[in-house]
Amino acid sequence: MSGAPSPAVYPLLLWPQAASQAAVHVDWLIFAFTAVTLLLTVPIFLAITYFALMYRSGRQVDRGHTSDRNVKIELSWMLIPFFLTLAFFAWGAQIFDVEKHAPANALEIQAIGRQWMWKFQHPGGQAEINDLHVPTGQPVLINMISQDVIHSLYLPAFRVQMETLPGRYTQLWFKAERPGQYRLYCSEYCGTDHSVMDGLLYVMSPSDYARWLSQAGSSQSLAALGKRLFSNYGCSGCHGAGATIRAPDLAGLYNRPVPIDGGGSVIADDTYIRDKILNPDNNLIAGYKQVMPSFKGVIPEDELMQLIAYIKTMETSS
């Protein structure tokens, strides 16, 4: 375990820590579901035990008037538990819906999973390995990708996890409310050191977080780092202002539909932009001749995230 806090004695734990209101909400769902589960099962346990003792062989009891079929009873014990549990389906789906839609004002942190560590990049350019610092009171969106196999970022204190896939961005978000130290894990088996691919999650008050950011130190924001890469990798030669080659204008590109050669369009999200940098021959853009070279194997994942961060800012600047 990396950097575990170590009190001398650990009591028997029965309830996990919750760092957000959403986590408490999930706890209520689990608690209520457990109650209904007991409601449905305890009578069965009692009935079986009672019947087994009451009607055991050799005892003189009334065994008459039984039937071996009763459609009404059968339908009722099929359907009543079903509809009872459907309430929990709906409740769970509703929370899940919230978990799937991050607020627009969320603070976006980039995460990369690789065998066997996590790398996080804050918008200000501060990077950290395995541990993650987040502020309270503000929604945080984690945009993540894997560099090799499938991992999964698991934050039990928020009751959420999301797999990181190679070649595709996935997201999760939360709104931390209780400052403290919590754990984070990789929960999808990823090879040799899977069980040490974990770290600590520091939930801090906004002022503490700001102090931590300044101490963590970074001269440049992600977007600024991306801007530098944009010229270093020669992107600006074609896509920049005043370029001689006719290349698609990237300003305002992010989250807009792009017309595709042969009809249709795709939304230019993070995964699309990443894919376009690495495999420019996929999804040819209508009205442009494909001349861009592939950057596959040239630009590492963290720099791709910086470039995308810069391309996103081009929307506001134009």
């Binding site: 050669d261 042969g262 495999n279 021959d281 996929n282 999804n283 040819l284 592939s294």
Partner: protein
């Protein structure tokens, strides 16, 4: 010339009809599993086509359409010869049945030879992305996925055909001995089902890979 036709009753069956129907049902069950095996690949091919229509069209134009079409014709002919063998086995004309079976095996072999030639052409034209040599569509990542599925599907079908021809040759040898039709006519019927099924799979492979994407 005609000899008596029938099957020998195995001791755990009570009637010949029961035994015949059991064999037929068993083979149908097996064919369903085969169909599902290929269905997964067809599904992959269709998903790739939906996701990357341009790349798939590009890759499909490099497939040897006419060899595929010729092979389709070869297999249709082989289905006819196999049906002929079954019909003759029912009336007990063993010599004619054997010739039809050999013709079926020959057509199956012809299919395999044509397929081998097609693979060779693919190799010459650098259409084999998983070998170390160059790949002619290397700039198009998604095309590679389609070509991979093409190779896996046709190779899996080829394995079935090789198995089919081998069993057919063994069966022909067995059937050339006297009294075969008296005891085991059912085997010809059951094998015929399998052969028609291999043909049927190709009738799906050809449009899904070659025709639909052109």
């Amino acid at each position: 010339m005609a000899e008596p036709v029938g099957i020998m009753l195995a001791e755990h069956f009570s009637t010949v009809t029961q035994q015949r129907q059991a064999a037929k049902l068993g083979l149908w069950a097996w064919l369903i599993t085969e169909l599902l095996l290929f269905a997964g690949l067809f599904l992959c091919a269709l998903i790739i086509r939906i996701q990357h229509p341009a790349s798939v069209t590009l890759a499909a134009t490099h497939l040897k359409f006419w060899i595929g079409a010729a092979n389709t014709a070869v297999l249709i002919c082989s289905s006819f010869t196999m049906s002929g063998a079954i019909v003759l086995s029912r009336i007990g004309w063993r010599a004619g049945m054997l010739r039809f079976m050999l013709a079926t095996a020959a057509l199956g072999t012809l299919f395999l030879l044509l397929k081998g030639f097609e693979y060779y052409q693919d190799y010459v034209e650098h259409m084999v992305p998983f070998l170390s040599g160059p790949y002619v569509l290397a700039h198009d990542q998604a095309s590679r996925l389609f070509v991979d599925v093409y190779f896996i599907t046709t190779a899996l079908h080829g394995v079935h055909l090789i198995t089919g021809v081998s069993i057919l040759l063994v069966l022909t040898w067995q059937a050339s001995r006297p009294h075969f039709l008296t005891r085991h006519q059912n085997r010809i019927e059951v094998y015929g089902l399998y052969w028609h099924f291999i043909d049927l799979i190709w009738m799906i492979v050809f449009p899904v890979l070659y025709v639909l994407n052109r």
